[in-house]
Symmetry: C2
Subunit: 222 residues, 2 copies
DNA sequence: GTCTATACGATGATAGAC
DNA sequence: GTCTATCATCGTATAGAC
């Protein structure tokens, strides 16, 4: 109630800054973005940014939190739903891919944020704690789903962290791979066809690699 | 013969610069590294670097080329060997993981280089062409291996680019994931146990997801 | 309360003199 | 090969105009 300073309307400077910064951070990384560039694209002067954000790291943190919140909002329904773990897993991965495909900077921003842990000082890292916690929560829900599937006998007894990493690699890395990925595909990554094919391939791969087809009921030995 | 200016011995400034720069570029990315930092760690002043390299981008390009060359040297034997595609594939992935595990900055540097295509001007990109070509060659050999395996009936009829991306994600991304990966694993990424487990998990995943166990000979229908 | 002008200290890459 | 010098630009602080 007392948090918001004012009812900053849609299209306000604050939102435009976040929008522009999201694109730039995704494309050029934290260190590669200058606040002057952000400001000029918004149509402001550099120091004006400091009336909305206390500093570059705070802006970056808020951008990342927003992106992660969008992902979480999209993936959580599938993760938290009742039902077969294998179905929920496929729905969750499908939702994740949809989100990464619709907002083209998302995968890059997210992947970059994982690589930029050596760039921040101790007090800067404090600003990134909420981001880390939100990410940890999402990952934990995902691992919980894997664990349930293993216990119910739907999934093989894979290593939870390794399976998580493999899924992240197959989704986030792919849509972050930019020019390299497009050279590989021989065409755009984000076209409807390419996204649909990626979803099929990842789903098939996960299904074959994770789901234990030989033990559909309760068998545990091999 | 006429290329080398002098017989710069081992431990020369040039080699020390490359070594230090490799570590810093891996940890902080291209934009996050200052030449002053590189110089001071080598025991030089900033401008002295320019007597060894024409500029920051050239230094970066040479570092990346060296890292990729190490990988290629390690992976090529398995790729180019005769024999069953599935065996060669597993050996190649094993070699790749060994290389990524032994030189801890390698995965990060490589992954970052894929994300940093928006940071360079046209003439800067020209300096990165050899790197791109070397990478393309390696990827092409890998895809060739996949293609052979599909044609011989060993592998499922997966999308070559998508399967390649999945393997890169499962290997390069994993070993680049730094603090996040360690939080996930609950321990170090590069410990002997973690590396061995990763290799097992990836191999099992690839085996299940790629290799067509149901058609060991020539069947093509489903 | 929102934005701008000006300016500071630090650091960026690079030139030219020893 | 190395250092002194230079100049643009970095993120940030302050003071004031709408």
């Amino acid at each position: 109630m007392t948090k918001r300073v004012a009812a900053a309307g849609p299209g306000s400077s604050r939102e435009k800054i976040l929008e522009v910064a999201e694109e730039l951070f995704a494309r050029q990384g934290f260190a590669g973005v200058s606040l002057a560039d952000v400001a000029s694209r918004v149509g402001l002067r550099k120091p004006s940014l400091f009336h909305h954000f206390p500093g570059k790291v705070a802006l970056y943190a808020e951008v990342c939190e927003g992106v992660l919140a969008r992902i979480a909002a999209r993936v959580r329904p599938a993760l938290d739903a009742p039902g077969l773990a294998s179905l929920r897993l496929e729905r969750a991965i499908g939702s994740l891919i949809d989100e990464l495909a619709e907002h083209r900077g998302t995968a890059r921003l997210l992947l970059r944020s994982l690589l930029e842990d050596d760039l921040f000082s101790a007090e800067d890292q404090a600003r990134l704690v909420p981001l880390d916690r939100a990410l940890a929560e999402l990952v934990q829900s995902f691992q919980e789903l894997l664990r349930e599937g293993i216990e119910s006998g739907e999934f093989r007894r894979v290593s939870l962290p390794d399976a998580t990493q493999t899924v992240i690699g197959a989704t986030v890395y792919h849509f972050a791979s930019g020019e390299f990925g497009e050279t590989l595909l021989g065409g755009p990554i984000f076209s409807a066809e390419a996204v649909a094919r990626r979803k099929r391939e990842v789903t098939a791969f996960i299904r074959a690699g994770l789901i234990d087809e030989t033990a559909p009921l309760k068998s545990e030995g091999d």
